[in-house]
Every structure is written in C-alpha cells, then in structure tokens.
Amino acid sequence: MGLSYQLSNGDTSMQRSYLRHALLVILFAVLAGILAACGGAARTPTAVPVERTVVVERTVVVAQTVEVPHEVVVTPTPAPQAAGAKIVLRVGTGDSGEGLTPHLKIIEQFEKDNPDIQVQLEPVGSGDYYTRILIQIAAGDPPDILQIGDDAVPNFVGKGAFVDLAPFITSKENPLDTSIYLPGVLEPGQWGGKQYLLPKDFSPLAVYYNKKIFDKYKIPYPKDGWTWDDFLKTAQALTKDTNGDGKTDVWGVQLPGPWTTGFEYWVAAAGGRLISADGSTFTGYLDSPETTKAVQFYADLYNKYKVAPPPADLNAFGGGNSEFDSGKAALRLFGRWPQSGLKTNPNIDLGVVGPPAGVKRANVLFWGGFGISAISKNQPAAWRFLRYYVGAQGAEVWKNWALPTVKSVAEASGQASDPIEGVWIGELNHLAPRAYISTPYWGATADPALRKVLEQVIIDPATDVAAALKTATQDAQKALAEQK
C-alpha cells in the first residue's frame, strides 16, 4: 500500500509559487553576481580619499606575577623547504580599513625585491585582534610577525612571545641602524633594556582647532607653548549660544571623556604622576594634589565652565561624539588618528597645536610596533621583512598614511616643518613616561579605578574629586596587592 499525502492546494497556486521562487532565485543570483564583480581585484585596493592611521592600543593587564622577563634564546631553525619553494611569512596586524593600503604596498615592493619570500597579511580590526593572536599563541600557531600596541608590550614581551631583536639588529648580513628613528619611538618597543619591537607608527596628543570658528568670532589662534589658563580662556570665548534658546550651540573644546590613558597628559602637565617610579604604590600619586588638580580642572571644563559638551557615549574611540567633526566645537584634544578625515571635512579648516602646559609642558605617546614571534620558524626571513617594513624603505610608504618613524624621511618629506605635521613631531620632545611602564598591572588595577573616577566626575557634577581619587587609590592599591 502506498503512502501518499497530498497537498491540498490546486496546481495554479503551485505554479505561481514556483514562478515567485524562480524570480527570487534570479534576483539572488544577480545580486551575488554584482557583489562578486564588485569584489574584483582584492590585493591592492585603490587608495581612497579618506585615510586613517591606526595605532593598536589596548589596555591589557597581567593577572600573574612576572618575576623575570623570560629569556627566550632561540636558535632560528628555518623551515625546511624544497628547492624553489617560497617561504611564506604570516604577518598579523590590527589595522583595518584603508589603513591596510600601506601594508599591502610595502609587501608588494618587498616581494618584488625578494622573490623567495611570500608575505601573507592577516588583518583583524583591532578590537578583536588581540583575541585572535592570543588564541593563536596559546595554540602555538601565531603569525611570524606580530603587531602590538604600547601597553601590551610588558605582557607579551614579559611572557616570552617575542624574540630579542638585538642579534638581528647587529647582524652583518641585514643590520639595522637604530639611530635613524625619531626621538622616543624606539623606547616603547623595549623591555628590560632590550629591543623586542620596532616602531610602526606613533601619536602623541595635540589640540586640533577649527580656524573657521576662530575667524568667525575673531579669536586669535592658539600658540605653541600656551598654558591651561590660555586654554580655558580660549574655550570660554568660543562657547556660544547662538540662537538664544538656552542651549549651547558652539562648544569651546571637545574632550575625550573618561579616556584614561589620554588623561595621563593632564596629570603629567600638572606636575604629577599616577604611580611611583618603582611601580609599588599608588598612594601619594594617584591621590596626590597634582592629580587632584588635574582631575578637578578636567571636570570643571565639563561642569563648572561648561566649555566641553557632555559625551554622547563613553567610548573615546569610534563613538558618537562628533561636535568637532560637525563644526560645533572649536578645539579638540586627541591623537593623530582622525586627522586625515578632519583635513577633508568641509566643516573644518584645520589647525593643530601642542597641548597646553600646566605647571610644565608634557605629553604622552601612543605607539604600535612589530616584532618577531618567538616560535616563528622563519625568523631570518621574518627579520628581512621586518627591517624593510619598519625601516627607512617602509617609512617612505608610511609617510603618506601616518607620521614616519624615521627622522630623515620625516625631514625629507617636509613633514617635520609642516605647520600641522611638524607639531606632532615636535611634541616628541616633551614626552612624559606612561604609567604602564612602571607596572605590568596597570590595566588591572589603577586603570579601571581611574576610569571610574573620570566617568563619575563627568556624569555627576557634584562629585568630590579628592574623595573619589582617594577611593580609587585604595581600590587600586588593593587590586595591586592581590596581583602579587
């Protein structure tokens, strides 16, 4: 006996539904075809007018006692290769978007000069980049060359993820003259006195200003060497309610909200530090009068003088805070990363000046660099690429996308004397040490505590700054004790 179960609908509706099915499938195929056609030449994307430079920065923390930086002595064992086979180098980077163009360009040039090597770039947007490389390292499978940010250095290097580059730098076949670099850009790649990473790009802080707004209200442009007082006065002069509705329409300055690592500039400019030099205590530093003064001034800019707009969201990066971008704020304190977009923004006539001095002039450096993985099997080949990537030849390409790290390139390209780029390079002379250098536990202890304080003073104008800092210091100290 057969089993037959029929559809109750008539034939015509079946035909109609088949027709509709067919139409949709055709539509689908056409769409897929368009996308496939669009995707065409993948390797070297055309340069897009808006450029971005990205420095991979992540607040990372160690939850484990680091006694001695692991000395990983590796005798490079090149992967055995058949005659004529290419060495494949894997390079991991946290850059994304248009920031990949310089990478690909350098790779193309290098491969032409070194036909025995093929370089495979493995990019991941920085938020997830660390997730991926950590898993790869844990499984023993990382790329040969890895990019990391400044505050990741203590952890990664301290745990032996990178090789000491000294033997390569001083080697006879492929040496690298490290004096070619600008001041201050080699240090973040060092740990325990040894060089593990070479600089890819860097950015100190500076103050962008919109000449259009200054011209409109006939305020003189800020000058290099200006003070917090000048800063405040300028911002106040440019905070305006233009239509009389009680709401500010033009703001003096867009501040980066509760961004902790950027805040280190304020503390340094106030003459303070956030942690003792030996990294053992926050008490007396995180709650010092200088730090209190810095936080109070920052909070006052938001709440008392009201020259800074309250943030729309608390992401300093990639968030929705766009007063400066829309031409609604006269000043902006930040790093160099959004600069290319700002230059092409019709709302802005861009000028850049160094951050104002408190009791002294100060700045902090943000940085990203490349190093060779300790378990890479292609270290000599990796070194050949690395010195090209971040050496003088690479810098020639980088200079169109970011500040070159090599002195001669910066000068030859005119960037050192450019009214805008020159400011960034000039700020390299006023760097204060970052807090993470003093302790690998910065990210787990004081960073969240400081962030809480900053969030609090922004959200709640009535916050007692000194008390909040005292609590933060206690929390940080307690967390530090737990790490040991």
């Binding site: 769409l31 971005r52 495979q120 766009s322």
Partner: protein, 276 residues
C-alpha cells in the same frame, strides 16, 4: 472570513502598520546614514534625507575590500551548513520526539546544556583541536560540526515534531514502514514550516557568525562577510558611512533567503490523510 468582524480586523491592520513603522524607522536611518559622509551622520539637528546622497559610500565600501569574495565564501559556508543541519538535526530530533529509550530525557537535557557554555571559553580548546586536525584556515571548522547536529535546531525540531499528531505515523507503522521511511514520507512533508525555519536561521547564523571565522580563518582570501564588516571599525574611528552601506548590502542575501523560505510555510499545507 468574517469571523472577527470588521472592527477587529481594522484594528489589527492599524496595529500592523504602526508597529511596522516603528520597526522601519531605525532601518530608514541606516539607509540614510549609508548615504552620508561620516561627519554628517551625527550632525545636530539630525537630517533624515542626505543632501546630496553620497552613493560613493557603497562603491567604495564594497570595492575597498573584496566583499564579493567574502560573500562567496560565506555563501559556501552557509549552504553547506544548512545541508548539514537539515540532514542531521531532523533525524536526531525525530528520535528525541518519537522514540523511547532509556536515558532519552537525560540526554535531551544534555542537548540543552551544550547551548549554555559561553563561546569564549571553549574557543581555545576547540582551536587546539582543529589545529591538531589541520583544519585551521579552511572552512572545515565552520561547516563539519553542522553535520553532527546543532542543539538549537534539534531542540526546535523536536518541539515541532511533538506537535504533530501521531495518527499518521501509527498508520505508517502498521503499514510496515521503518523509521527512515516514516521520517521521509510522513514527517518531512508535514514539517515544511519548521524546516524552513531551520534553513532561515541557519543561514542567518552562519552569515552573521563572527567569532568562529575570526579565529579559524587566517588568509584574508578566506574571510567571511562579517569579518569584512568589522574592518570598518578600527580602534580609533568608525567609518560609519561605509559600515552602514556594507551592512545593508550584505544583509540582502539573508533577506532573500527569508523571502524564499517563508513562502514555504505561507501556503497552508493541509493534511489529507489520517484524519480520524
């Protein structure tokens, strides 16, 4: 069709329009943002209609990265995963729904439990496993597990099978059909709505899957669409315009699959056999 009265139906219709409008508004904003240069997106006061619309966002976003390639990759992965799920989950779900065996209910709880462990934690052991198998940088870690059943769809199909009256199966068993025949001839034809749902959801999940492609795919040539999308979000800035444009375009295949599959259960399939 006059069951519910004119007023009732008018009310339902009005509600439909209102809710649809609410759902549409953010979507309209997405479309609007996808046609603006970045500095205009958060402008105050907000402007719904971009002036002039920046169509270049679309061409630039899609050509900057090989989205065509990514789409192809993702389509392949999704298609294979759908097949895997339909094959494996149907059989397993039928067993849980209709067959009696010792330990069945406990095993079903295990099915549920496997959905409860957060991914970040099994990522590392899984990666090591796949590395040992040599599957890293291939599509295998993303597709092969689908042929071993997925707890979500096993659960879904089991629930659905439980709603089917047993008369037809009993009749088929009396006729001497074995389990495979029952599944093929009785259950599957009646399960079109549920199977369509499984297909839609599998496609969507596979299309939007991010963590697995992130760690298993190394060569950018193998990347999927979601990996491509996150390129627009660097650590310091977000290319809003590109992100919206790319997100909208890459959403279309899923919508099309939805349209295709939802027609499978729109036509009422009445059961003609076995009505007692």
């Amino acid at each position: 069709m006059r069951r519910y009265g004119i007023v009732g139906r008018a009310l339902a219709l009005a509600l439909l329009f209102v809710v649809a409008a609410l759902f549409l508004i953010p979507l309209l904003w997405m479309i609007s943002s996808s046609l603006k240069p970045d500095y205009e997106i958060f402008a105050v006061p907000p402007q719904l209609i971009p002036n002039p619309p920046r169509w270049a966002n679309y061409s630039e976003a899609l050509t900057f990265l090989p989205f065509g390639r990514y789409t192809l990759n993702t389509l392949v992965i999704s298609a294979v995963t759908i097949v895997g799920h339909l094959l494996s989950c149907t059989v397993v779900a039928y067993a849980f729904a209709r067959l009696r065996a010792p330990g069945r209910d406990a095993l079903f709880l295990v099915v549920l439990a496997t959905m409860m462990l957060p991914y970040p934690v099994t990522m590392v052991p899984l990666y090591i496993l796949f590395r040992a198998l040599g599957w890293i940088n291939t599509f295998l870690p993303l597709t092969v597990p689908a042929f071993f059943g997925s707890p979500l769809y096993i659960f879904l199909l089991r629930q659905f099978f439980l709603t089917l009256p047993t008369d037809l199966e009993d009749a088929a068993r009396i006729d001497g059909a074995n389990t495979a025949q029952i599944i093929w001839h009785v259950i599957l034809p009646l399960s079109r709505p549920a199977l369509a749902t499984v297909a839609i959801f599998t496609f969507q999940a596979s299309w939007n899957d991010f963590l697995a492609p992130l760690i298993y795919l190394q060569n950018p040539q193998n990347y999927t669409v979601t990996l491509g999308l996150q390129f627009f979000r660097t650590s310091y800035t977000t290319n809003w315009g590109y992100l919206m444009a790319a997100a909208l375009i890459t959403m279309l295949p899923v919508v099309i699959v939805f349209l295709l599959a939802q027609r499978l259960f729109i036509e009422g399939i009445a059961m003609t056999g076995g009505k007692g």
